[in-house]
């Protein structure tokens, strides 16, 4: 009998991958996220981590984990499907949106400029154009509004897009802005992996540079089957879903072909 414990810490390895990628100029790196549907346990740790990291108010959750039941008793299956902004290379959401309201960065991340991409009208346009239901409107509400105390974790600044954002004061961005996942760009720039990746309890989330053939994400894409969601719409998403024995490609395609 051979001892078979994992020798390599995947998070430490991915962080090393990340640091290596950051040495390169921005246009030489290409950020992608890889999500293993076989390993996702539907715990929602990523959802809470994302909300806390980005100080998202009620109604805003860049990450959602769908819990899907399939089959008939007793032949039952259950799939967990985390979704977020896919940082599309051909993003349909920004069609007809003023050009100064967003930036498609060279590393792939789609940046929304909170001070420009503002107001319900623009939000509805972006929302209607996104096939991934991945954008949210910040109504300026708080979880602890209308309780005995507005709690301080809700008014603290977030560091999205490398800036400080405090949701205090009426209309102060990102209040009334369109919000979505940005792969935790502010963390990447501080040499840290996205919050959903580090906290993932089933270790189903991976992150890295698509241009680095030797890193964790590319090895996974080489060795495993994967799908892109709604690929046929030509959006060119940057979130890859690994499939396997529990959730196979064909099942995925019944909803996301």
């Amino acid at each position: 009998m051979q001892q078979t414990y994992i020798k390599e810490n995947l998070v430490v390895k991915m962080q090393e991958d990340l640091k290596r990628a950051l040495q390169k100029p921005m246009n030489k790196r290409s950020w992608i996220m890889v999500i293993d549907t076989d390993k996702c346990i539907g715990c929602n740790a990523c959802v809470v981590s994302c909300i806390a990291e980005n100080v998202s108010p009620p109604g805003v959750s860049y990450r959602v984990v769908n819990d899907i039941e399939d089959g008939e008793y007793p032949e039952v299956s259950r799939y967990f499907m985390p979704t977020n902004c896919q940082q599309c290379d051909n993003p349909p959401c920004i069609e007809g949106i003023p050009e100064d309201a967003y930036t498609k960065r060279a590393d792939g991340i789609l940046v929304f400029h909170y001070d420009k991409l503002k107001g319900k009208k623009l939000f509805q346009k972006v929302e209607n154009q996104c096939p991934y239901t991945a954008v949210y409107y910040d109504e300026g509400t708080f979880y602890t509004a209308n309780t005995p105390k507005l709690e301080p974790y809700e008014t603290r600044p977030s560091y999205e897009y490398g800036e400080e954002w405090s949701r205090v004061g009426k209309g102060q961005s990102p209040i009334n802005a369109v919000r979505k996942c940005h792969f935790c760009l502010h963390r990447l720039e501080a040499s840290m992996l996205p919050a959903c990746v580090t906290t993932c309890v089933g270790r189903a989330m991976y992150f890295g540079d698509k241009n680095d053939t030797d890193n964790v994400v590319n090895k996974l894409l080489k060795n495993r089957k994967w799908v892109l969601i709604n690929e046929s719409e030509g959006t060119k998403p940057r979130v890859f879903y690994l499939t396997g024995t529990i959730l196979n490609k064909e099942t995925c395609m019944t909803c996301h072909g």
Partner: protein, 1062 residues
């Protein structure tokens, strides 16, 4: 057919929240806290620097900096995951899993990594743990002492000074003369209950009381000898009940290592009451008792020291059967366990089966889901054992080894009693193991096997002469009828055919065969894993023992991929030779306690002066402790005695105990419970009945030394320490400023009552005990120095010492003072203590997890396939002996009668979502309830069709115990047990499941009046349903839920219900 369960609901919930404007803002709750100031001045300095364009991305991102990080330990559930707490201006804003921690990273980083480097590294943490911020900053936290101004449960309060509350509790009197109907109610204070105060008197009374119970002394002689002290006792006719001190009871909920020892030292050792309770019997107690019985050591006629918890080495197992539990929801717990399972599944190393009426998240990844009938886990295990023995698929080598020498010879770290001979009575009842002395083959501490048919004596721990025994023995030796333990197990397993077992379980016999076949196809890398599910039944102990026996069939203990005792911990209590502070012994003039506990636990009915034939007035529980559900009902019954004061700490019997109405009815009873004071962070469903509520510190503000799950294979000592400044009021005790919390209450009462072992030199010469950290930091020092010589951690270097202070710059004197902290451990140990605190504990490096084919930390001991102490004890109600081997038993009441629930057809089970525990978490942590805002009655689609229910219909849950399906709060208000039906495929037909988090009617869910001001409740906290009040009360006792007579578990999953459309 694909059906989305929650996607639309998630959206519905989040959208709903946007427009929710249901509350009137009422200002800072109960006086607020100092936090408001920092809230308004967020990092102004940083902003100006950012505008000047002089900041790097790392500089802007404050949460990547070591100075803003303190490592501590979560307690949103009992997995107690280490946490990396990130602060901004003294406010806790983000919680992650530390890279240092063996529960958060696989493998965790080296312990020697500097905190500066670790600052940007982090690992896993479950959603509950991350939402801890919202339990800490719960708008309904109480921060001052409250005293009721109306009747119990009226939710009318006034804030009173801490000292006044302590004075009133100690001195008693007409404490509620302003409350209508209580004008003349004189309350006895704790000073009246602090009856025996002299340790010598306590000791002699205790010794002689035991002699009376053993009939070595007559009551008359006792009375004569102790004439001066007889009035200090509860009942001179029954001196073994103990002194009046026992009339003060602490009923604690989630109290853990660190706090537990602190509280027991105070109540047991200083106040002299035996009545300290944890909540374990409403959790997994029978699991613990069965493991203890299976792993007890034997010495000089006594069985003791068993391990209460073992787990698979999940990282290397090849097959795990999860019985009534899983790796992705509750259990112990998802962050350490889940990745080991998901890794195993995608690499093909691991196959899992889930035995559970509900298709859990773990079942989603399983090779096989077995939706068995609730409570039949033991039946299934016995069926599997039958097949395994019949097909000779058991590990013969492991099982034949009768002693340590034999185990050693075959490379086995552990061994078992499988071959040991048991005496059989004339009527066929198995009794004790045969002692060698009875056959004149050896002494009375040696046992006997048949070796190739020849009686052979051995000592279980003999390292020289290996003794193996025959497994199947049913014969007479020197006229004594004997069977081997293995034979007794076989007879139990063979008492039904496979088809009969399958029918009991509600599954096919082919499923039993397939499970048994797979289980015996992976050598020692198969494990039967369970926790709460199989044991929350009246037959819980036997179910657990059957599952443990299943593990022994494959001889998996101590092997890589097998059954593990876990990495263990360095001993914070100081009980090991290397530890500098033996806290148990650091107690000058310790009073100590004696007598029968109010719950009659850990006591044999026949060995008390109360014995008067069968049945006993109420059951005795000789094997279990912490019998939570039996405390209040015993108080009501005045059996074995009445009590005068109850300190309810961080627990809620009136909400969390099955058949909760019986508990609620006692809480409101002032005659039976004259003084009731509570200590908690929020006013809960039980503490709302208290006379006084003291605010407690939440886990993010205080100390604790929780132990590690055996799922972790490396040695781990976690240290919970203050992260943020306390939110509760600062008071003065022993001349020292400190925040109000459980410890402060105890110290204040110790000061006023002059309890031994507190104040100046309270921990012995030169060691004061005036503050919580006088105790807790010594525990940290014990961890830092280690259990044996040469085990100490390095000193913190200068950068680390600086960082230690910098990261605590937001903590002021009442909680943190470097000089004071250093003095309380001694300067020689200080830098080592800092090294541990800077990492939130002590973690052995991962390399120590395994040693070749063996686990790095092994049990190395004896397993009892037959539990002699159980087999030789009588049920206190029937007078009949229990069984030493696992047996199948139907659900029975306290009198031993089979429970009938005619007309109620649906079995009700409860479970936990990963988003919630039984407390804190859902629904009051709003991030969590934004994902799951209420719970449901889960029902199979066919059952729903038959009963005419559609998704979303509302139904009331009723049972024989609660045919109206209602909570009665005894304050004029009631709440029906009504919830929404969710029609699914993933649940056994005939079973309904309701998760256990929701249905609150206090804990911020209701309006309160404090100092005449209305505090509005939050309707988000009222959602869903809690079925505990529908769960059966015992048909014989009628005032408490059903209980496993051996393991002590309250019955959570034996109730049948009906769903009524509303």
């Amino acid at each position: 057919m694909i059906k989305k369960i929650t996607e639309s609901e998630v959206y519905e919930n989040t959208r709903k929240r946007i427009s929710r404007r249901t509350f009137i803002r009422s200002g800072a709750f109960l006086g607020g806290s100092a936090l408001l100031v920092s809230q308004l001045n967020w990092a102004c300095n940083l902003l100006s620097k950012a505008e000047a364009g002089t900041l790097t991305p790392q500089e802007i991102y404050e949460l990547s900096k070591a100075k803003n990080i303190i490592y501590s330990v979560c307690l949103q559930c009992h997995t107690d995951c280490p946490i990396k707490a990130k602060l901004l201006n003294g406010v806790l804003v983000k919680i992650d899993g530390p890279a240092y921690s063996s529960q958060s990273m696989l493998p965790h980083i080296s312990y020697s990594t500097s905190p500066a480097k670790a600052a940007t590294m982090e690992g896993k943490l479950c959603p509950k743990g991350q939402a801890g911020i919202q339990s800490l900053y719960d708008p309904y936290r109480i921060v001052k002492v409250l005293k009721r101004t109306g009747p119990r449960g009226s939710n009318q309060w006034e804030t009173i000074p801490f000292d006044k509350a302590i004075d009133e509790i100690i001195n008693g009197g007409l404490l509620f003369k302003n409350v209508k109907g209580e004008e003349n109610r004189n309350v006895l204070g704790l000073k009246n209950l602090y009856s025996v105060r002299d340790p010598n008197v306590q000791k002699t009374l205790s010794i002689d009381a035991k002699r009376v119970a053993k009939k070595e002394m007559t009551i008359a002689d006792f009375k004569t000898k102790h004439v001066d002290h007889i009035n200090l006792l509860l009942d001179p006719r029954h001196p073994d009940l103990g002194p009046i001190n026992n009339q003060f009871v602490i009923q604690a909920g989630r109290i853990e290592h660190g706090r537990k020892e602190f509280a027991k030292r105070w109540l047991n050792d200083a106040f002299g009451s035996v009545n300290f309770f944890e909540h374990t019997s409403i959790c997994e107690q029978s699991h613990h008792i069965a493991y203890i019985m299976a792993t007890n050591k034997y010495k000089n006629g006594k069985w003791f020291g068993g391990k209460e918890h073992m787990k698979p080495d999940t990282l290397n197992s090849e097959f795990i059967i999860y019985f009534g539990t899983g790796a992705f929801e509750a259990n112990f717990g998802p962050p350490p366990m889940a990745e080991k399972v998901t890794d195993g599944i995608i690499t093909g190393r691991l196959k899992i089966a889930v035995v559970d009426p509900r298709f859990s998240k773990t079942a989603a990844k399983a090779w096989m889901w077995v939706p068995l009938k609730p409570g039949m886990d033991g039946a299934l295990a016995l069926g599997m054992i039958r097949w395994i023995i019949e097909n000779k698929r058991f590990d013969r080598t492991f099982l034949t080894n009768a002693n340590l020498a034999a185990a050693k010879d075959s490379g086995e770290p552990s061994w078992s009693t499988a071959a040991w001979l048991v005496k059989i009575d004339k009527d066929g009842t198995p009794g004790k193991y045969v002692r060698a002395s009875e056959l004149k083959l050896g002494d009375e501490n040696s046992f006997v096997v048949l070796k190739n048919g020849i009686p052979t004596a051995f000592n279980p721990y003999d390292t020289k002469t290996a003794v193996e025994g025959d497994l199947m023995v049913n014969t007479a030796v020197q006229g004594i009828q004997v069977k081997s333990a293995f034979q007794l197990l076989w007879e139990s397993a063979a008492s039904k055919t496979l088809d009969e077992w399958a029918e009991l379980c509600g599954i096919n016999s082919t499923t039993i065969t397939a499970l048994a076949q797979e289980f015996t196809s992976h050598g020692k890398k198969s494990v039967a894993e369970f926790y709460r599910g199989p044991v929350k039944h009246t037959n819980g102990y036997y179910n657990a023992l059957a599952l443990i026996s299943l593990n022994l069939m494959v001889g998996n203990p101590d092997w890589v991929g097998g059954l593990s005792v876990g990495g263990g911990h360095w001993h914070e209590d100081g009980s090991k030779p290397g530890n500098p502070f033996n806290l148990k012994k650091m107690h000058p003039n310790k009073l100590g306690a004696f007598g029968l506990k109010i719950s009659r636990e850990k006591a044999f009915y026949e060995k008390t002066t109360l014995f008067n034939g069968y049945p006993a007035k109420r059951p005795f529980y000789p094997f279990t402790s912490n019998l939570y559900q039996e405390i209040l009902p015993s108080v009501k019954a005045d059996y074995p005695y009445s009590i005068k004061a109850l300190f309810l700490h961080k627990g809620t019997p009136g909400f969390s105990v099955p058949g909760a109405q019986a508990q609620l009815d006692v809480l409101v009873n002032k005659e039976k419970l004259p003084l009731l004071f509570a200590c908690d962070i929020v006013i809960g469903e039980s503490s709302m009945f208290a006379d006084y509520i003291f605010p407690d510190l939440s886990v993010w503000e205080r100390w604790g030394m929780p132990h590690v799950t055996p799922d972790v294979q490396t040695k781990t000592s976690k240290v919970r320490q203050p992260i943020v400044a306390p939110l509760t009021e600062t008071v003065k005790v022993f001349g020292e400023e400190m925040p109000i919390c459980m410890e402060t209450i105890m110290l204040a009462i110790a000061e006023k009552l002059n309890l031994p072992g507190y104040g100046g030199n309270g921990l012995g010469n030169g060691w004061d005990f005036k503050r919580p950290e006088d105790y807790y930091l010594k525990m940290v020092a014990n961890i830092a120095i280690g259990d044996k010589e040469g085990e100490t951690v390095p000193d913190a270097d200068n950068p680390e010492l600086e960082l230690f202070l910098k990261s605590r710059s937001h903590l002021s004197k009442p909680i943190f003072d470097q000089q004071r902290w250093e003095k309380t451990v001694g300067s020689d140990k200080w830098k080592k203590v800092v090294y541990v605190l800077n990492r939130g504990g002590r973690y052995e490096n991962f390399i120590k997890a395994y040693n070749g084919n063996y686990l790095g930390h092994k049990f190395n001991g004896l397993f009892s396939l037959y539990a002699e102490p159980v087999a030789t004890t009588n049920h206190s109600m029937t007078g009949k002996p229990f069984f030493g081997m696992p047996v199948y038993e139907p659900i029975k009441d306290a009198a031993g009668e089979i429970v009938v629930q005619d007309g109620y057809d649906l079995s009700l089970i409860t479970y936990k979502e990963i988003l919630g525990g039984q407390s804190r978490t859902l629904p009051n942590d709003y991030w969590l309830s934004s994902i799951l805002s209420e719970n449901y009655i889960l029902i199979n689609s066919r059952d729903a069709e038959l009963l005419g229910f559609s998704n979303g219909d509302k139904a009331k849950v009723v049972s024989t115990t609660n045919p109206e399906g209602v909570w009665n709060f005894n304050n004029g208000k009631k709440k029906p047990v009504v919830g929404k039906v969710k029609v699914i495929e993933g649940i056994r037909r005939g079973t309904v499941a309701v998760s256990w988090h929701f249905g609150h009617w206090a804990y911020g869910a209701t309006d309160l009046k404090v100092d005449g001001k209305l505090i509005k409740g939050d309707e988000r906290r009222t959602t869903g349903l809690c079925t505990n009040v529908v769960l059966l009360t015992d048909p014989y006792l009628k005032d408490v839920c059903m209980t496993d007579p051996i393991g002590g578990s309250s019955s959570f999953s034996d109730t049948k219900v009906k769903l009524i459309k509303v």
